[in-house]
């Protein structure tokens, strides 16, 4: 190997290191750069872990507790408390694990120390196996067991060394280094695209919660409570579909008068609503039995293909 070759290789190493460093800095800058953190409440919420969820921040979670915590943050920001004071306020109540990035201490420190130690170890191993081995006049295998002979400073490698097995680990090391560099580059470039643009946090919809609960209650045949939940939902979302569910629930909780009233409200808006006519007719069988057949006949006429139509026809003929 010539002196020029050695200088060339040094240049290559220096360039490689510089490239790695540049990529590492770029990656760090991209991941630590200022995101959409103009809103102090959202920024603080993103730093807190939702205690009722798995791996979700208070900013992202839809759980009622997270919503309450966002409100508590907003209140305190409005009172002019500093982010540090607010953070401490939460740590006092939920413990240090509420912070998405807890202060480095104890086992947390190991997460940083172990990779550093491993990298240093790998670097040492690389240095050892990359260092040209030279035992003048003796091929590698014949060398006395134990540590390899060290080359005196400035001595050149033997003429036969380039093509011997000693070269293979070196190639492997270089391939690994290039692979690592490509990996870092890929991560640095792709990091931006991996994070989807944060969707606007959907507001918790009390009507949806009430509806879900009402349906659960219906499943448990607690129609009284279900009707109550439908009434709550109706207050948030005055909607005929909800009104019909309420009417059905009332009918089943033996409140035909209420069911009739609610069904009539629906029919005021849409006079030919099949479900409205069905509930009204069924309710009327108790409240005013004289009117029921007429309403039910109208129901069958309006919706002959309704799942309940066959049953109602049977009811009318009997």
């Amino acid at each position: 190997m010539t002196r020029g070759g050695l200088a060339g290789r040094r240049l290559l190493v220096a360039l490689g290191l510089a490239a790695l460093l540049a990529l590492a800095v770029t990656g760090l800058a991209r991941s630590a750069g200022p995101g959409a953190h103009q809103d102090p409440v959202r920024a603080l919420a993103a730093e807190l872990r939702c205690p009722a969820c798995q791996g979700e921040s208070v900013a992202d979670s839809r759980s009622p507790i997270a919503a309450s915590m966002r409100q508590a943050i907003a209140d305190q920001v409005a009172q002019g408390r500093s982010p540090e004071q607010i953070r401490r306020w939460f740590v006092d109540r939920y413990g240090p694990e509420v912070l998405a990035r807890p202060p480095l201490r104890g086992t947390g420190l190991l997460l940083w120390a172990v990779p550093v130690v491993a990298l240093l170890g790998a670097a040492y191993a690389a240095r050892r196996s990359l260092r040209p081995i030279r035992t003048p006049g003796a091929p590698r295998r014949r060398r006395p067991a134990g540590r390899p002979a060290r080359r005196p400073a400035g001595a050149r490698p033997g003429p036969d060394e380039g093509s011997t097995p000693g070269r293979r680990p070196r190639v492997a090391w270089w391939l690994s280094a290039v692979g690592l560099a490509v990996l870092v580059a890929a991560v640095a470039v792709a990091a931006d695209r991996l994070t989807p643009p944060a969707p606007p946090p959907p507001a918790t919809d009390p009507a949806a919660v009430a509806l879900r609960l009402a349906r659960d209650l219906e499943g448990q045949q607690r129609y009284d409570a279900a009707a109550q939940m439908y009434r709550e939902a109706l207050r948030e979302r005055p909607d005929d579909a909800v009104r019909l569910r309420l009417a059905f629930a009332m009918l089943r909780s033996s409140d035909p008068a209420g069911a009739e009233r609610t069904a009539r409200e629906v029919l005021d808006h849409t006079p030919d609503s099949p479900d409205g006519l069905l509930v009204l007719g069924l309710a009327q069988r108790t409240t005013r039995p004289g009117d029921a057949p007429r309403t039910l006949r109208r129901f069958v006429a309006v919706a002959p293909d309704h799942p309940a139509a066959g049953e109602i026809r049977r009811l009318l003929t009997s």
Binding site: A52, A67, A125, L213
Partner: protein, 185 residues
Amino acid sequence: MSGRPRQPRWWRAGPVPTAVLLLSVGLGAAATTGHLAGAGEVRQRPAVPAPALVGTTLAGDRFDLAALRGRVVLVNVFASWCGPCRDELPLLVEAAGRWSPQGLAVVGLNLRDGPEAVRALLREADADGLTVLPDPDGTRAVDWGVRGVPETFVVDRAGRIVARQPGVVTAQWLQEHLAPLLAAA
């Protein structure tokens, strides 16, 4: 020299990488076991002064937890939209009826709920007499460090939180945590 037994490959790799590897594995193991050991200790903390709890109850009365100093207070965080809370309510009503002569007060902190839904729930559970403090935006619950509903706290006669139960309480839990406090009147 060639007659000497060959050293294993890992040894020839050198003592330093081997030591690094062993160290890494050791540290990893230590971190994992340490983490596992620490996981179970979240539940019971030493007694801390209960945060303030002041406001107007569902019935329109003034409520202040500090005014109940000298009594044992069971604070139950609940909501009508939470199924387990609904199931738990009869037990709390029963506890209130059973232990109030000995100085127990039960208060429900109603998290992010509508007054009508709560009233309906109380009627259904025969719990109309229960003191309910609405917490429409949930900030009172957060002040108490609530992690979810239901969650129950026991405040002793000196106004300190001496027990907390995330999730549903059982009759046995109530017995264990209330009876000693109420007996020491």
